[in-house]
Subunit: 425 residues, 2 copies
């Protein structure tokens, strides 16, 4: 496999996520704040993307792919060409300038304008999972904050404020499902709302690696970004859950009412039933895909390495083969395991390196952090018994038949969202 | 659905592919040479990507995701920072300069150097499907040649020239499978090989939209890029296939021996069995994913619109519902069709717009170009009969039971490549 584990992370990588992901062979740094994804890494990224995709489809999101090279005129129309923090600008041989997309309001709104003319065209929501670029001044947080990163951004378009608010609540529910499936406790947190709304909402995962601070009730009924919190740490929760706490957290998602800010800039309007022109009301909703991968690595680890949740692990099973000699029976057992696993859609990473000691294989397995570990060894070639242990179990290995281990593993799978049967034109 | 068909393409779009794809609601232009992909468009792009992915996996390619922001020092090491045609350069607030990736040798070779040290680490092949940027001086060919485009690039690393040559032939076979599955006649064509090889190979699809010219034998035993062809148009084929022809063509893929050009630049070497340091021999292999989408649109169309091959059509069936009134029976029939289709993994696009005349629905269906068309109408609500016609059939509609239509359609599916059971570490 392309990518090797290493004992020590580069000294200039300070973030836990980057250190663990580099050591485990998931990523490698290209330049500061920019990472290449190795085969293990892209598997995790794809699994996170697919969970997000399923939940966005389930709330009627239509997937698109918008360009990174963006029209300067559109950025001027929104007054963001010179005001957007961390915008990369490009000059072409054509003497044109482009924005290198850090966000896509300037693309999606002129595009939507081509398709929205009547109330019948609303509501509408489109999303993409796409690479974004931001010229961050500091990039010391590994893949939690990079100059190039993968993001899901959804934009919704509505005729009325009531319709927008209804959809906003639907997105909240979809976001909760996403984070639950990723095994991440992301706290819905009030944040600043900009010009068109008093508040927006962020989804914050508590971790010392976070760059935000939140004030929150341990009982779960209040959380606010510390920057705008109306109350302070230590105040008693109104509902009797004890004193409010303060913690560092990383924002893994946000949902934001845009009002008519962008509709006004691009004159995006629709004709209502009475034939009157009305501005379109918008919301935008982000989830940081690569940041989520980093947040999971920050939260789910122990001294040996990462412990991936089942839903996003690069493989389901890490199979270590320990054999003093190559044997037909050993291969029969491996093939049996693979066949049973395949039947249940269980993906197996095989470590059958012959010149590597068992200790080093254990070390690598724990560092990579695939949730289920299986050993097939030369000692037990005569029957169907393998040794099983979950990654998070620090106790003994459990001998059991292949079928029992596979059953155990497949029961832990989370149900997948059903893809939509068909879409309407 | 986000995206509408339009009768006329923008006047400044001259390329057939762009005109058809814009009219059908697949793409919209952001700036010259840069396109946004609408829901129909991204479905085609994903289907092409998945076919390419399957075939690359089948020859041992390991998928990675390399960065777009690239290290300037690496481009200087290969002497391409100032010499690479159409390289976009970016300046960061950090006073760093980056290349915006038009290709990834400068990324993948330093990366591979971290993992290759012994002959035991070879051969190795990695690929990605990723957005590339080139500052093209002219961009008038729609998605055949853009400033931002989707590409598959695979890089292979070998200990010996013999091993490289063996793999080169394997890639040729995989490429042939890709183009066959896409229903594209791509001619393996000799092209200039650069410093390390007399020839490389391009895969050329004959079309007037092409920017290359090839000299080829109509019998299929010779083809060369006109720029390097040792023979001229009109010369008799040695094998008796008649006179060689000359035609315009678009390069949809290429395979290229790199020798040790990049290994030398980055000092990428391995220790052979005798412990001696040897340079790694490389090849690179490209396929233009978005260009393929354009080439298919150029080749597979008629006066009404695109005719997508089954393997990459955005949906398998375009269902038009013609009903004078809404009826329970009508919905029963639609649901029956959808249920039977789902069972066979057939994807259905439904046009049940109530304020659109049948003529306009036919017009849209032919413009979009989904290969199978079905009508469910109010006339036949009492039985299981629908009307079926394939997109390429200009004759009459054929009444038939739902099950017969679905059987007909599912039989045309091409078999998919089997994903690898497990990968080795």
């Amino acid at each position: 496999m392309f990518g090797k584990t290493i004992k020590d992370a580069p000294k200039d990588e300070v973030a836990i996520n980057a250190r663990l992901l580099i050591r485990g062979g998931f990523i490698r740094r290209e330049v500061s704040g920019v990472y290449n994804y190795l085969p293990l890494g892209i598997r995790v990224l794809n699994k996170i993307s697919n969970i997000v995709r399923e939940e966005m489809n389930s709330i009627g999101g239509q997937e698109v792919l918008l360009s990174s090279l963006q029209n300067k005129q559109s950025w001027e129309k929104t007054n963001r060409w010179n005001n957007f923090d961390a915008l990369f600008k490009l000059t072409s041989v054509l003497d044109n300038e482009y924005a290198l997309g850090p966000s896509h309001e300037e693309v999606v709104v002129p595009l939507a304008k081509q398709f929205i003319s009547s109330y019948k065209d609303l509501p509408l929501s489109v999303y993409q999972i796409q690479t974004k670029f931001r010229d961050e001044k500091r990039a010391k947080s590994g893949i939690l904050r990079g100059r190039e990163f993968l993001m899901k951004d959804l934009y919704s378009f509505h005729a009325t404020d009531a319709d927008f608010k209804k959809y906003y609540e639907e997105v909240k529910k979809a976001y909760e499902k996403v984070f639950k499936r990723l095994n991440l406790k992301a706290i819905e947190t009030q944040a600043s709302g900009g010009a068109f709304s008093k508040v927006s909402h962020e989804y914050q995962v508590i971790t010392d690696a976070g760059e935000d601070e939140i004030i929150y009730c341990p009982g779960g009924d209040f959380s606010s970004n510390a920057q705008i919190s109306p109350v302070k740490e230590g105040k008693q929760c109104d509902l009797g859950h004890g004193p409010l706490k303060r913690a560092k957290a990383i924002e893994v998602g946000n949902i934001f009412p845009l009002g008519t800010k962008f509709s006004d800039a691009f004159d995006l309007s629709y004709k209502n039933k009475e034939g009157k022109n009305m501005p379109v009301i918008m919301g935008c909703y982000g989830i940081g895909i690569s940041r989520l991968m980093g947040a999971i690595a920050e939260v789910h680890n122990d001294e040996k390495g990462i412990i991936w949740p089942e839903s996003v692990a690069p493989y389901d099973v890490h199979l270590m083969v320990f054999a003093r000699e190559e044997g037909v029976k050993l291969n029969t057992k491996i093939n049996k395991l693979l066949a049973v696993a395949k039947e249940k859609n269980i993906e197996v990473l095989i470590d059958d390196r012959q010149d590597v000691q068992p200790g080093a294989k254990h070390f690598d397995a724990d560092l990579i952090g695939i949730p289920h570990k299986i050993i097939i060894s030369g000692n037990k070639v005569d029957d169907e018994v393998i040794d099983y242990k979950s990654r998070s179990d620090n106790g003994k290995w459990n001998p059991m038949p292949i079928s029992e281990a596979i059953d155990k593993i497949s029961k832990k799978f989370q149900p997948k969202a059903d893809p939509p049967l068909a879409e309407k034109s």
